[in-house]
Amino acid sequence: MALPNASKYQAGERDLIAADISAYLAKQTSKELLRFITCGSVDDGKSTLIGRLLFETRQIFDDQMAALEADSKRVGTQGANIDFALLVDGLTAEREQGITIDVAYRFFATAKRKFIVADTPGHEQYTRNMVTGASTADLALLLVDARKGVLEQTRRHSILCNLVGIRRMVLAVTKMDLVDFDREAFDAIVADYRAFAEQVGIAEWIAIPVSGLTGDHVAGRGEAMEWYEGPTLLEHLESVPIDSAADEAKPFRLPVQWVSRPDQHFRGFAGQVASGSITPGDEVRILPSGRMTKVARVVTMDGDLPQAVAGQSVTLTLAEEIDCSRGDVIAAAKDPPHAADQFEATIVWMADEAMTPGRGYWLKLGTQTVTATVAHPKHQLNVNTLEELAAKTLDLNGIGVAELTTDRPVVFETYRDAEGGPPNRVLGGFILIDKLTNATVAAGMLHFALRRAENVHWQALDVSRETHARLKGQKPAVLWFTGLSGAGKSTIANLVEKKLAAMGRHTFLLDGDNVRHGLNKDLGFTEADRIENIRRVGEVAKLMADAGLIVLTAFISPFRAEREMVRRMMGEGEFIEVFVDTPLDEAEKRDVKGLYAKARAGELPNFTGIDSPYEAPEKPELWIDTTKLSAEQAAEQIVSAIMDFERR
């Protein structure tokens, strides 16, 4: 049995252990922690390399070594040599198949750092495992067989790691012993990867030529590759920056996990600091309520702390008695995160059963759990090429981009840090849980909120929109009249409002003319201004609906997209689109205000129906054909529809 060279790397450590254990232990308490993921397959020498790392850092005891020698003889694939792969393959079934099918976590340490290694299988059908392992990693160790070079698999792993926000990669070119430690073979692989990395936007990476079998450039330098002047693998792992340190520089966030109320006098908010730091006296905002207060104490069993930083699990007390419970986020008052209920996100599907668009899943993000529905994917990602493909759903291991809607606002951050820092894992990463089986079916990373308006959710509202509506004894709604100029929108809307008022309803009519004289007098009739006009009217209508009113709006609102935008702003079923359908020639014939004549004369550019399009609604809630109904009949029909709506 050819035993590998005994480790010299830890010799200094062992001397210290033997000579002065107290000094050694003092050093142990000041180590840093680095998490990394290994990507590659057994064929790339991955298990051999990990086994080598464990061996070099003395994580393998003699009894394990003896078992390993025996196993190597029996089922090993290295002939007379030690098969380090046997050290790291776990479950019986996997060992029989000769592949790892899950995420295994390994540990080793050097004098400077403790390492947690997520070891995941490389095949495409294990994308979910890789994403799982990558989610907590500061760094990715990509293995490339020196004989095979950069493969599709290497590219896929790089893309996946990049997707999950790993910013630092190590390209370990393995099995250098099998190419006679040839520099040119190494350089060719590096050049190949460089071209790829530039293409997909991987900025920080380093290539190291290694041999797991001989140990060259794993811990020691060896003599076979003197042409390589960079760090050994362990040297690099010991010195590369750690994400969690950079998290401290970000604004303060603490998702509340648990409220501590041991007695009437103490009320503490327990949680792990996601980012930033906090000192007693600092102003904070509680989200999503938006209330402000100051931090009174940072409580721990070891006494109050003068400061808490990212990564620490602490209990905060606040200067004032304020509503705050699990799921809320305590954040820096000056730089709080936003809350929203519609997002675009990257979704990694992890269940055998495909995603069902429109179905409600539990969404857990930080300490918040809400119901979320996912729309049909905008596209699915080919993880080998980054190509965007059309898709109706996502299957196991499918990765796609989709919009999702939650049943209440979620305090969030975009997963990718805008400043290029570590990803916002805590407030940007989420899982989806099947409501029937409770299985974790997907992981997701938020891109952005779809409704910017919701981002300004900080103002605390003591009287809710439900209260407003209840006080008025009615169901708020927005009746959105759309149609050509002169179609009869304002006339009919006026009649409807009169009828509703007579029935004791609290209403308000927003009319194109009255709004354009005030709120929107800065806007003209270009396409951009028309969109902005509708956006503002939508916002005002939403505020009024929040106040409990039945809002009627009469605007041409020619573009379908803007009407849909307004629809999305309102609560489910609250937006009632009324298409006042008057054909162009009929409207032009009526020409109550003489506008068509002016437009035809070229005096009114961008006039809807003449030189600017009108996109008729496809499925309006109400369709009023003015060639068949009088204004009075139309109004009656609409009022009765509102009565139906109120009864629903």
Binding site: L25, D63, F107, A245, W258, V309, N438
Partner: protein, 300 residues
Amino acid sequence: MSALTHLDRLEAESIHILRETVAEAARPVMLYSIGKDSAVMLHLARKAFYPAALPFPLLHVDTSWKFKDMYALRDKVGAEQGIDLIVHKNPEAEAKGINPFDHGPLHTDLWKTEGLRQALDMHGFDAAFGGARRDEEKSRAKERIFSFRTASHRWDPKRQRPELWSLYNVRKNPGESMRVFPLSNWTELDIWTYILREAIEIVPLYLAAPRQVVERDGLIIMVDDERFRLNEGERVETRSVRFRTLGCYPLSGAIESEADTIEQVVQEMLLATTSERQGRIIDRDAGEGSMEKKKQEGYF
């Protein structure tokens, strides 16, 4: 920039896990085995919920064959204010007088595996904290932090949930339960350095002292009480020994050692050449994959 050390980060992660479980589970419980890992886990729990008392009871699944020193520490912990200690002994095993001398593997099956199931079912616990670590054994390297168990307490490798970031899915249907391992990412060395740093009380058996032992099947077994049965030719002698792991005393192998401080124990461990579970008889029962099999049956 502060410098959180790896122990600070492990501590914070464990506290996060403990709190997350308490926030989401209906009836959590902490399995308290009295060993050093349990001691660390209990210490972390106190930190997690300070200044409140522990929001869950401790459960000791007793076999009636633990070391006397273990019972002493257990009873001391149980008497503390704010600690609710439940001791469960499988009545069937007690009635049948199941013991490690006559019943072999059945001893562990009935007292521990079956006893644990009984206790969990009896109290309706839906989440049980255990002190297992991933570095202990190969099959544990893939164990989740929140390990899902079916209504019959079985561990099904195919139904384990992916764990991303620090997001744990604690949801389950009635009857199903979770084993939760807050120490998953700790190594044995982390445990010892943390015990030192935090001055956590542990059973004195971890430190070397002159003890009454016999040698049997290559293991050094302590004669802890009068129930110990000597085989022919066996001789009780006094040797300076300590234990790396603690269980039922007739099944726990000691190692000869002079290390009577934690520092010296760590020193010996680091310079030693055998891994931690080597002293446990139960792992040898079924050879290849035995721990995995036990786990599927519901043993921790």
